[in-house]
């Protein structure tokens, strides 16, 4: 095996690990956020607009963490700087 093959193998494994481990945290966080938002909407249906807007902004914040992992795994697979 030459160097390039080893780097490719390590990159592929790391890309899989990145997206797997990195998605766990945001998934738990988003679930908790949605559950709490539903509870508060059920308690105060008048405040639905404010809660929904804040929820969307918060969800986007949380989702960006998972997106970072996705971007890194995409770079590792398709645009790896070490195999060029």
């Amino acid at each position: 095996m030459d160097n390039k093959t080893i780097i490719s193998i390590v990159s592929i494994i790391t890309a899989g690990l990145t997206i797997t481990i990195g998605v766990i945290g945001p998934a738990l966080g988003q679930g908790k956020a949605i559950a709490n938002a539903l509870t508060s909407i059920a308690q105060q249906p008048d405040a639905e607009q404010t809660i929904t807007r804040t929820l969307f902004v918060g969800l986007a914040m949380l989702e960006s963490l998972a997106i970072y992992c996705f971007v890194i795994s995409m770079i590792l697979i398709f645009a790896n700087p070490f195999t060029k």
Partner: protein, 232 residues
């Protein structure tokens, strides 16, 4: 596999490269500008207005209401910047229904440019509202220990804005092209529909986050007037 429209080179002369990102960005800019100009040429104030003017009024009042709900006092001052951001991102994300179109927001350079313009607009509006001293003092709130963290936060949220929009739109395109090689019939269309939803939500979130940042800068840097109760 192509990750961004930067890699599609249309015309090249030396180091001067025109790629698909530039072309589609300019097409969107020209389309939006001509549409706005054409509609606003014949504005009427009566009861019978043209249908395009009605659409434009709905968009403008909707954006003004959203800005007002976040907490900015006079939205007319900010709608030029925030409304343009929203309309540009939403148009470039929604045009994926056209064939051969590649959204310019799936290139990191476009989203970085948008995020840098937000990065510049926040101190601009902050200084406009509270003066240079008032804006610089907002970095020392709540205490001067927070100064490095405020600066790091300013930089990291710009990075987050850029990477979030890029990652979301790029991932939509990548998923569609992966599915095209596995199940080429129905599922790419379903994921494209999901991409439309993601595009609108991300445009909304980008502009609402810019609004929140500007609102934070303007309210922090405003001089706190001490209200002295009158003595009887």
């Amino acid at each position: 596999m192509k990750l961004s429209p930067d890699e599609t080179v249309i015309w090249q002369y030396g180091f001067f490269v025109i790629n698909a990102t530039l072309v589609w960005t300019w097409i969107i800019i020209i389309a939006l500008a001509t549409a706005a100009k054409m509609i606003t040429l014949k504005l009427k104030t009566g009861i019978h207005i043209s249908r395009w003017q009605c659409v434009l009024e709905m968009i403008v009042t909707g954006i003004i209401n959203q800005i007002k709900e976040v907490g900015l006092k006079n939205p007319e001052k900010y709608i030029g910047f925030l409304g343009t951001l929203f309309l540009f991102i939403v148009t470039s994300n929604l045009c994926i229904i056209f064939p051969f179109y590649e959204p310019p927001t799936s290139s990191l350079s476009t989203t970085t440019a948008l995020a840098i313009s937000v990065f510049i607009a926040v101190p601009f509006y902050g200084i406009l509202e509270g003066g240079l001293g008032g804006y610089l003092k907002s970095y020392l709130k709540p205490s001067f220990i927070m100064l490095p963290f405020n600066i790091i936060g300013e930089l990291s949220r710009t990075l987050a804005l850029a990477v979030r929009l890029f990652g979301n739109i790029m991932s939509g395109g990548v998923i569609v092209s992966v599915l095209l090689s596995i199940t080429p019939f129905i599922f790419p269309i379903v994921m494209n529909v999901l991409g439309l939803l993601t595009g609108v939500v991300q445009a909304y979130i980008f502009s609402i986050l810019a609004t929140v940042y500007i609102a934070a800068a303007t309210t922090d840097s405003r001089k706190t007037k001490k209200v002295i109760p009158k003595k009887k």
